[in-house]
Symmetry: C2
Subunit: 242 residues, 2 copies
């Protein structure tokens, strides 16, 4: 991985006016995000917000019986810790790193301070939150109506969008935890996709070979989320990522 890193790799930071960036960026801390790392647990008081750059974070809920389900995914398009600016200080979810990389971290009090003083950050946060609402709603619908293989397609596409490469470091077991299904169910779906030549996988590595085909096999849920996110938060890079 290149040592070139910049907060602007995060789309929300990127979307801020220059003067807001100038104030905010010095407060940010560049931190590694390791696979499986838990940023916060259900009920924890949040200490920081995270702006992922090349990492992916899953928000998931763990039931009393230990089963889990992914509520939404956050990558460089978003921020982890919306509860801090929503005023709740905690959520009922767990935030866990789904794909290793880095993020920029900001202590909660600085974040809230910025929010209160400058409107642009707040506006952006609100729009992002609406995108998050859309994603959650769609996850809910997908859980109800679509088959595992369709959901796997959705999940792969959401992950791809948040990575630079077409390879995911991810086991069937972990995907199963995210989707809230059995590992065997994921294996079945993945092997089906592999037979179709859409993906190729091997012991914890999944490579997407044919993205158009993947979108074809997917249910509508991916497109709905993607379109709405693009509408709410159009991405215009202010500085080319070197």
């Amino acid at each position: 991985m290149s040592d070139k890193h910049s907060p602007l790799q995060n789309h929300l930071i990127n979307a801020l006016p220059a003067e807001d960036q100038a104030r905010l960026i010095p407060l940010l801390e560049w931190v590694p995000m390791t696979l499986g790392q838990v940023l916060y647990e259900s009920g924890d008081t949040l200490r920081h917000v995270y702006f992922p750059t090349n990492s992916i974070v899953s928000l998931l809920y763990v039931t009393e019986s230990g089963a889990s389900a992914e509520i939404s995914v956050v990558g460089n398009e978003g921020i982890v810790g919306v509860a801090l600016f929503m005023g709740g200080e905690s959520t009922t979810n767990r935030a866990i790193v789904q794909s290793a990389g880095h993020a920029y971290r900001l202590p909660g009090k600085y974040f809230k301070n910025e929010l209160n003083q400058h409107g642009q950050l707040m506006i952006l946060m609100l729009r992002y939150t609406q995108a998050l609402l859309t994603q959650m709603a769609q996850t809910s619908v997908c859980n109800r109506h679509h088959r595992i293989d369709q959901q796997l397609c959705r999940w792969l596409l959401l992950s791809l969008d948040r990575l630079m490469s077409n390879e995911l470091v991810m086991t069937h077991e972990l995907i199963a935890n995210m989707l809230g299904v059995r590992r065997e169910g994921v294996t079945d779906a993945a092997s089906k996709l592999q037979k179709l030549g859409v993906i190729e996988y091997h012991r914890g590595h999944i490579t997407v070979l044919d993205r158009p085909k993947l979108e074809e096999l997917c249910c509508e849920c991916y497109a709905v989320v993607k379109q709405e996110t693009d509408r709410l938060l159009p991405y215009v890079p202010k500085q080319p990522v070197k």
Copy 2:
């Protein structure tokens, strides 16, 4: 139905400081909400926000194939149309009246005006939105992991909390649309609950006889949402509802 009605029956309005109420209340329009009425469709530009008093509104998503699923429920604890203050102006959901009654309606421009000028309304909206996020997340989990009869219990409890009475005017068919399952599935679950003496129903009317038992039979999802909503938006009536 009594002709006694007041915007304070809505918990969000009720929670505002007196001076904010004084400004806001004259702008509100008291409107009837009829069963099945669609407040907005997916993609519509929202014109108003609604503060339900004794009505209940479902936010639901309709898939390409025509299947539906309820994303969340809004009653007198909340507001319909968060997209207006989130900045998106529209959502991918449909808002439909699930239980007839009334609401107070506010044109979008007044609403946004109020938001920008006075912090207290914004703070309240943010907290409510977090409660909504929680509800959506939990619906998603419930769709994945819990049986229809448990989900029916959750749905009944969520509805009860938003009504004064223990009787719902609601057919199995409509509940099925909300839960995103077959009508027969709801009939099975409901008949099971009736045999247990928890509810009693008859051609479009459901009466809850034993609420504690209903909570017992329910999955954790109801309690999680309830607890988090109470935490985020504690309800302290400022004027007893006559």
